[in-house]
Symmetry: C2
Subunit: 483 residues, 2 copies
Amino acid sequence: MGDEKVMVGREEKNLKLKDKNNDLSSFFKPESVAIIGSLSQSWFGGLVILNNLLDWGYSGGIYLINPSYDEVHGVKVYPNIKGLPEIIDLAIIMAAARQVPSIVKDCTEKGVKAIIIVSDGFAERGENGAKLQREVVETARRTGIRILGPNTVGTVNTTTGLVTSPYPIGSKIKRGNIAFAAQTGLISPTGLNYGDFGYKISKICDFGNKCDVDEIDLIEYLADDPETKVIAMEIEGIRDGRRFLDVARRVTKKKPILIFKPGRTKESARALMSHTGSLAGDKKIYESAFKQAGIIQVNSLRELLEITKAFSYQPIPKGNRLGIITITGAGGAMATDVAIESGLVLAKLSVETNEKLYEIHPSLVGNPSDVGQIAGMGIPPYREVIEAMLNDVNVDCLLCTLQGMIPAEYYLQTLNEIKKPENKPITFWVFGPGSDGIDQIYFELENNGYPAYLDIESAVRALGAMCQYTKIQRRVKDGRRTQ
Amino acid sequence: MGDEKVMVGREEKNLKLKDKNNDLSSFFKPESVAIIGSLSQSWFGGLVILNNLLDWGYSGGIYLINPSYDEVHGVKVYPNIKGLPEIIDLAIIMAAARQVPSIVKDCTEKGVKAIIIVSDGFAERGENGAKLQREVVETARRTGIRILGPNTVGTVNTTTGLVTSPYPIGSKIKRGNIAFAAQTGLISPTGLNYGDFGYKISKICDFGNKCDVDEIDLIEYLADDPETKVIAMEIEGIRDGRRFLDVARRVTKKKPILIFKPGRTKESARALMSHTGSLAGDKKIYESAFKQAGIIQVNSLRELLEITKAFSYQPIPKGNRLGIITITGAGGAMATDVAIESGLVLAKLSVETNEKLYEIHPSLVGNPSDVGQIAGMGIPPYREVIEAMLNDVNVDCLLCTLQGMIPAEYYLQTLNEIKKPENKPITFWVFGPGSDGIDQIYFELENNGYPAYLDIESAVRALGAMCQYTKIQRRVKDGRRTQ
């Protein structure tokens, strides 16, 4: 069964008759969109896509296609895409799987540039579905049209208000510089509470069954996307290892790529097989490939979200020497454990810095510096301690612990006043007895470009990942020098 | 320096002149409390303790002791504990470290049963402090009085309203069956938002420098505490390995003990040394000791909180065969990865169960069962799927994924209606696009005894830990049988 699928993959490659259109911009910046298929009243379908697009302020043309309707809610419905008065950049197909191959053909005849097949019932559902998927791929290969999916919730572009998810979306995602891609609808705005994470997104892409557009195509596209600073991906399998390595190696020189890959165990690899009809592959092969390509591998979806945001907000450090500001001895030890395990070292503070800390209070001397020992005297001298640590030549990055009982405004004002050197990222662990206070500090920080965390491990791991990227970039430079 | 401290430990043992009072109940159920020392207006100190006790409804006698005051806020202040009109069960000392030895002596003369030394400035602050700590220990050994601390925020008992933290506490912690202990004030109600976690507590204890009362004493006490079902601990070092093993082995037969131990790296072990003046020790020795003692070791404070609550709410399973209800293929694979890594196996559903699932919808067949594939048709048939999985003889425990867009009431009603077999724990991963919906589902579940998680890994690891405890208990039984 597994080998058979791989064969399908090879077969697909041999079908390549026309050069692919390598510009994916029609998936993210279409001037017009056609929604083809399901228009029934449901919490899922074409009408939901229409509503989402209108809600998010997408300003391009939107057309509805379904032969069974003349209009819905006063909006004209066309029987076929070929009858549309306008050239269509992007078609979103929500029809039954068996109808999809002929709809795709119609799209190619109309000159559509990109197709998102939302429908499921393809390779993930056995041989009949796989056959339909092959038909679609044949058309794509023959005509050069690009296809995302099937079995996908499609794309999001926060700049243009494009959102193709067929599920309702509660809130608009904040515009930012993180591109998020995955082989699952989990990363759609219906799946994750990006807005509440303080997460700021440039683009989202769900590959679905990735019959055509895959993670490599997207990495290539995002490499040149000025709105994207960091690329975060969940991928379950890579079809073309050699091309992946080539492309990723080139892109990681200029933008960090973080990847979470489920399917580490043979049991889960089997589960993924039935999910997108693709092979998950061997854990060690992937780990080694990611390492070679300069990709930062993380261990969970949550880690992917949490580590990526540090790259989004903060500068890349020059080295791996960590300063820790803690409120408890245990917190300092917990941070140190994760730091060492993440490839960081504890910074040895300079004599000057320790003198500065001593002057504030003798118990502050050293790294970790424990402001909790003087907490009984009032609000700890965060400003002075952060400034002293951050401006030490021996400190490359800083973890700062914040107590949730102190008002958010105090922290924000303090942080804004501090003279922050370039290239020194800082992350924050916020803890305390009440969620309200913690939440407020969390959001104020995030909204002002400071990555906040509710557990100390993530706050440290984020800095570890940034230092890993420093090494990746250095390796690239050293490599060039020796060439 | 390290060796010297160990010597101090040995020396202390030789000082044991009078049998210790092994009953720690005066630390948790004192009929009267004396607060000795600092009464200044501050966000930290004796007046804060007084307010906390009154806020939480502690109904025993409360006395203030400080020679510089006659009264504060209309409350009489006594110059010395010896002058009090009543026998005192528990003294809470907040005085300067150098005054503490003589205050402790006064307490012994008054017949106080237990002392919490909140003050810092002892072994954690070098040789002068260590000397003061030794004086205190000598008195304790000579008289049999028990001492918690120094450098501690003390204890909490949610049943009696006892709370000795010198920091303000926002909200009352819910009463429950989890005992939480640590060598750090982080676990005090000022440090963690227990209430917001849905966390229900019986007792909290911070050992501080543990000059006398230590984790072993507490485990012995909690073993017989009818209000405690599960014991969660952060410990940084163990003083008496042999006794620890003896006691823990005995207690884990009847109650699960979960431990998080920071200080895994030599760098963090050094940090801990300066924090409580105790040695953190070798990672592998501890791991092996915990395993021998039947203790469940976890890797972070967050994991300690999240895994413990499953033990608090749910029954211990009979085996390690996991059923998974997912909404996405990727979620199923992510859960499977963590399950296998946590010692679980994927349950092979019985023919009957698969037939039941097939009748609901063919795409539901198998484990993981993916209700997401029919999400387009409306709210997934959670009731039927959970009931079918949970009542399968091949399923020992269940992970269920909940979509945050579905109203909390729907889930709660569904769960309450389901016929749940005994001994089959269930955990929930709640995800979705908006925090409000997620939070509501989370709290409704937790308030009704269903452990909810915001990441799938924790939801699975909790079940893995419960199955680990099943094995620990089985080992004990098998051991008996062969003896």
